[in-house]
Symmetry: C2
Subunit: 342 residues, 2 copies
Amino acid sequence: MDIRDIARLSGYSLGTVSRVLNGHPNVSERARERVLAVVEEVGYEPNSNARYLKMQSHLSVAIFVKGSRNMLFADILERVQALLREAGEQPDVVYLGEDDNEVVHAVRYERLRHPKGIVFLGGDPAYFKAGFQRIEVPAVLVTNTAAGLGFKNLSSVSTNDVAAARDVIEHLYARGHRRIGIIGGERSLSQVGGRRLHGAEEALRAHGIEFDYERDFEPCHFAMEDGYDAAVRLIMRSRDLTAIFALGDAIAIGAMRAVFDMGLRIPDDISIAGYDGLSAGQFCVPRLTTIRQDTRQLASRSVDALLAALGGEEQPVREMVPYQLLNRESVCTREREPVRVA
Amino acid sequence: MDIRDIARLSGYSLGTVSRVLNGHPNVSERARERVLAVVEEVGYEPNSNARYLKMQSHLSVAIFVKGSRNMLFADILERVQALLREAGEQPDVVYLGEDDNEVVHAVRYERLRHPKGIVFLGGDPAYFKAGFQRIEVPAVLVTNTAAGLGFKNLSSVSTNDVAAARDVIEHLYARGHRRIGIIGGERSLSQVGGRRLHGAEEALRAHGIEFDYERDFEPCHFAMEDGYDAAVRLIMRSRDLTAIFALGDAIAIGAMRAVFDMGLRIPDDISIAGYDGLSAGQFCVPRLTTIRQDTRQLASRSVDALLAALGGEEQPVREMVPYQLLNRESVCTREREPVRVA
DNA sequence: CTGAAAGCGCTTACAG
DNA sequence: CTGAAAGCGCTTACAG
């Protein structure tokens, strides 16, 4: 069943059928109705390979997701897909490992399939800097920033990680915490973890506290297992910590269990703050105090930016979306230590 | 840069270049080397649309995932994708809502893209029964069974939900629990929830307990939020319950928080058992007692089955993969109630 | 508004 | 082992 059959069945030529199918203006109402009726009746679907071959492009947009078990991305992905579908796109999603180079994958994909646009859920600006000039279609980086990279076809929508991390530290500091440890991510400034770390360090310094990376920081992947191990290492090493800032909620949840297993209470012995606002955080005991990234806006602004670019808009968007500190139960106010007389 | 350029540059004809690219036997070693060298040098990548158009099919396999926030599926998906890639496939993943009809989507997709095979992560046999005859390529249903449907091109790899649920009840019963409530899923036998429910009911009956659906069952979606609400409703209604079997770990985690919020202790006042073996379960306090579905085997057996079918194997596989009851901390032994003298 | 024709970039019998 | 040719199912100038 191909377009020629529809032409035959409808009594019109192949060209006219194609025009109807593609919503071109120059077709009579009669022709349109007739063709559509036949299409409907026989359940015809155009062959996309022929279509894209002829049009020299893939009609679809590709979504690269960095880490299939990242719940934050799962959440955003769900919305991005729904939005894209509403806009008539049928997105392709490709999963990558947490440590994969998304830009290398995208370059290969673009050559192979010629998508009309790309969205990156997560990504490292360092990779973009190195290889993004090879990709030519509009793209948008979500949850990380493309500012300063200088690519006209790369938008970004993210949370202000530096400011949000600073807020977490302020929150902790205001509640009397002075010995604060941090777990998660790496020190690389191009990654989200690195920027959160940076914001935290700044806030600490503003209060006259120099953050000691050797003693009070443990890098780790964004997973519960890793958070657990990192928390154990950190606490064993720095026994006087009164609070831990986990750079992701999954990490925080693992850390909470670690603290419990070490016979310590949360938040009384050690307070814990997370980052992301995963829904799981509100089911923890105690509920996790954290930064809520606005997945709804992250998704909708990203799709808006991509659609605009697809529509011919030349100016990329570099947007930060509002976040919110969720003050829940895993952080307590620290009583001032009694002054000890020597 | 297309195949004609490669022909020109290599001094061979277009047909020979194509044969080299596709690994056909009838090409001289000289030609192969020369062509490959040129391809390498100019970085040529064949146009997949032209290729698939000509070959009348898409070279890839499609993966339909029912519910993008389902961590069990996320886990299986990761493995399935890796395995497929190792086998040289570049899978397409399509996300569906938890309540979508995956077969309708697959039929449409097949018409449009002609994948060479399909894997369904989750799915309702009732939908397959109604519409799967329209799909002609090999497919495999993961985590649910295709037995009894009679489709030669549909394999399935799943956990024996009936038996596993029965084991959960036995576990609870052996620890003295007699008043057991169940939350999650629906009563429809074709869905996994329904089958777990069925297994539980059977086990209870074997001990002379008739399960009261009106009083002791609360259906719900497989998410923490829903588990929370369902647990509240159930406990309010059936105050004498000593244990709750949540038909999914996400549900269980929500239920644990609900029990806590109602001022009850786990497992002392109410024991909770889950199903799935999500890694999050081991970070709960207390750690969740649950059924571990073997995601590794679920993934590898599914890919094996699909690859075999793609290779010409005509006999579909209908396989159950071993599961394991993880006896952790959320279920306690119930002391026998003291006999009350009237 | 409509039709006839060219051509997108490949693969694969068919000859040789 | 290699080349010339047909054709996969579409879209889109070009005429009319």
